[in-house]
């Protein structure tokens, strides 16, 4: 009972921190936080595939970019689009793309899965550059109107205000995180892990591996689309470079590995680490690549289990040390 209480208290505390965050740290760090939150949730969607289902994708940016472009183009072309439907449109567009790819990609696993995504991801990148009438080519789609968050007759909140947008983005991303987390606790979530560890066995147990894979795939794609959508609103701009570039696909993989693959919150910690590093490097050095490269090499050489793994290890040691101490006291 007390454990449950502690859980609610800590959730309440987190909400309170988020509520006062912009007041305490100001607009700039609020924006940094939103950028981090977008990246973190985007990494979570990748981890649904990589960490839970064992599917490594080199083209996850496809869904991020599609969500972002859908939102941006909808706002750009159709006047008077309301806020929530455009975010939903980002979700739907990415799911549709995932459904199109499903028949091809769920048949394979391992490296072929990764490479197919690399290939299709690059195809989307080139298309985004080439279809200039739609995507604005290299320059992207930008400067579109940001609609207010409104429930007719009740409220209307201006979203060009960074403070309001902060709460909106955090609410949407928080809700997405909760849904993803909840999903891992459902029976289908357990099948996911089963697929990762032993697909044959799952098959023998009577579950349809391919279908389950497809569902998870579409879900991960859809939520990646939502993060893309929020990103487009946040930046008021989406370009091929920020939406479909290969680095947008690698980013969450790195965050997941650095944070710790296989745990739900690993990617969040990974994203936080990257956000902090980025914040520091952009201020104190122009050697961004060197710092990132060395960190990657270091993590993989010395801490391949990632941040969560290291924390787990430290906790174990601490427990062991305490045990020894306790026994010594006896």
């Amino acid at each position: 009972m007390t454990k449950r209480m502690a859980k609610w208290v800590s959730w309440g505390f987190l909400c309170l921190v988020l509520l006062v965050f912009p007041r305490v740290f100001g607009i700039y760090y609020s924006n940094v936080f939103v950028a981090f939150a977008i990246f973190a949730v985007y990494s979570l969607t990748l981890n649904m595939l990589l960490g839970y289902t064992g599917l490594l994708s080199f083209g996850h940016a496809m869904f991020f970019g599609t969500g972002a472009y859908t939102t941006a183009i909808a706002l750009d072309r159709i006047s008077g689009m309301p806020l929530l439907p455009v975010v939903l449109a980002g979700f739907v567009a990415s799911v549709v793309l995932a459904l199109i790819l499903c028949p091809i990609v769920v048949r394979v696993g391992g490296t072929a899965f990764a490479m197919l995504h690399l290939a299709f991801g690059q195809l989307m990148y080139v298309l985004a550059l080439k279809l200039r009438f739609l995507t604005g080519g290299e320059d992207g789609v930008g400067g579109f109107p940001i609609p207010a968050f409104s429930i007719p007759g009740i409220i209307s909140v201006d979203m060009t205000n960074p403070l309001n947008f902060f709460y909106f983005a955090i609410a949407v991303l928080g809700l997405s995180t909760w849904i993803l987390w909840f999903f891992t606790k459902t029976p289908i979530g357990s099948i996911m892990i089963g697929i990762r560890d032993n697909p044959q066995r799952v098959e023998y147990m009577g579950f349809r591996v391919t279908h389950t894979k497809a569902i998870i795939y579409c879900l991960a794609a859809g939520f990646a689309g939502i993060t893309g959508s929020i990103y487009a609103l946040f930046q008021n701009l989406i370009s091929a470079e920020d939406g479909y570039n290969i680095m947008v696909s690698f980013g969450p993989i790195m965050a997941t590995i650095v944070g710790g693959v296989g745990s739900f919150s690993g990617p969040i910690f990974g994203s936080a680490i990257f956000s902090i590093i980025e914040e520091l490097t952009s201020r104190y050095t122009e050697r961004v690549e060197l710092v990132m490269g060395l960190i990657l090499i270091g993590v993989i050489l010395y801490a391949p289990m990632g941040f969560m793994g290291v924390m787990g290890l430290l906790k174990q040691r601490w427990l062991a040390a305490r045990k020894v101490k306790l026994e010594g006291a006896k």
Partner: protein
């Protein structure tokens, strides 16, 4: 030959030349992948590094031929060191780790290149004997591009000889299909891996030297070539040398005739071909492994 025919023939040779360079890069990539299961994302960085080495060698000795020999070798040495001291250590942690490690290596190489040579474009000059044009029946063609085709063919034959006519090649081919079994036979598989990695980076190095006089040597050199080479490997089939060879040439020709006839769509053609092949066969043209 009238001028129109000459134009079409020239486009064909352009495609061949570009395809050959592409093959040099892609073959190393696909070989390392086929053998070690490592998708070497630093491969293009090695290609760029070699271009810089050739610039340096030329600046120091003034002799293109020395640069041509030394730069790929130096690149291969770096490759071997990376394999021995970094990749081998993380082999146990699986492919994702190796992959991210190669990303890290490529970032470090990129930064090292900028620290040593700056970010300006550097220029590698051709030796006199390779400058100029060859005139054959109304066709004018630059000597150097023909030289590049020849160079790639030589490398190709050396590789084919090594793989199919030597004991080492036999071991390599065996290790590709079943590394554990070869290990059990008492052959030092890690050493073979190191050699293969070295040869792969050496080939990327040769491509880097070959392209340096055609292109400016600058830190973005790796991006374009790296992506094209990946597409070749994906489309041709993972680990398949013959697939890489065929697709490289097809891509080369597609890009030159594409520019000739449907210029606006030229860059998309490769992707369209790739998408078609992958939809039919997700493992690529000649790929069997997953």
């Amino acid at each position: 030959m009238d001028s129109t025919t000459a134009m079409y023939v020239a486009q064909g040779i352009h495609g061949l030349a570009y395809g050959m360079i592409l093959f040099l890069v892609a073959s190393g990539l696909t070989m390392i992948f086929g053998m070690m299961g490592i998708l070497n994302l630093a491969h293009a960085a090695f290609f760029m590094l070699s271009a810089y080495f050739s610039y340096q060698a030329l600046a120091m000795t003034g002799n293109y031929w020395i640069a041509l020999l030394a730069a790929p070798l130096a690149t291969a040495v770096v490759g071997v060191l990376v394999e021995r001291f970094l990749l081998r250590k993380v082999h146990a942690f699986g492919h994702v780790g190796e992959l991210l490690l190669t990303v890290g290596v490529s970032l470090v190489i990129l930064d090292a290149v900028k620290a040593f040579w700056g970010t300006e474009s550097l220029y590698v000059d051709l030796p006199e004997s390779l400058k100029g044009l060859i005139h054959v029946g109304g066709l004018e063609y630059p000597v150097y591009r023909l030289f590049v085709i020849g160079l790639a063919l030589v490398v190709l034959f050396i590789m084919a000889f090594l793989l199919y006519r030597t004991r080492l090649g036999m071991v390599v081919r065996a290790a590709v299909s079943d590394a554990d079994m070869v290990n059990a036979l008492g052959i030092n598989v890690p050493l073979v891996f190191m050699l293969v990695f070295g040869i792969g980076t050496w080939m990327a190095g040769v491509a880097g030297v070959a392209i340096a006089p055609i292109l400016t040597v600058f830190p973005g050199l790796a991006d374009q070539m790296g992506m094209d080479a990946f597409l070749v490997v994906v489309t041709g089939g993972f680990g398949s040398l013959s697939g890489a060879f065929i697709i490289s040439l097809v891509f080369g020709e597609l890009s030159s005739y594409g520019v000739q006839f449907i210029s606006a769509l030229a860059p998309v053609l490769m992707f369209v071909l790739m998408a078609i092949i992958l939809v039919i066969k997700p493992t690529g043209l000649f790929g069997e492994r997953e």
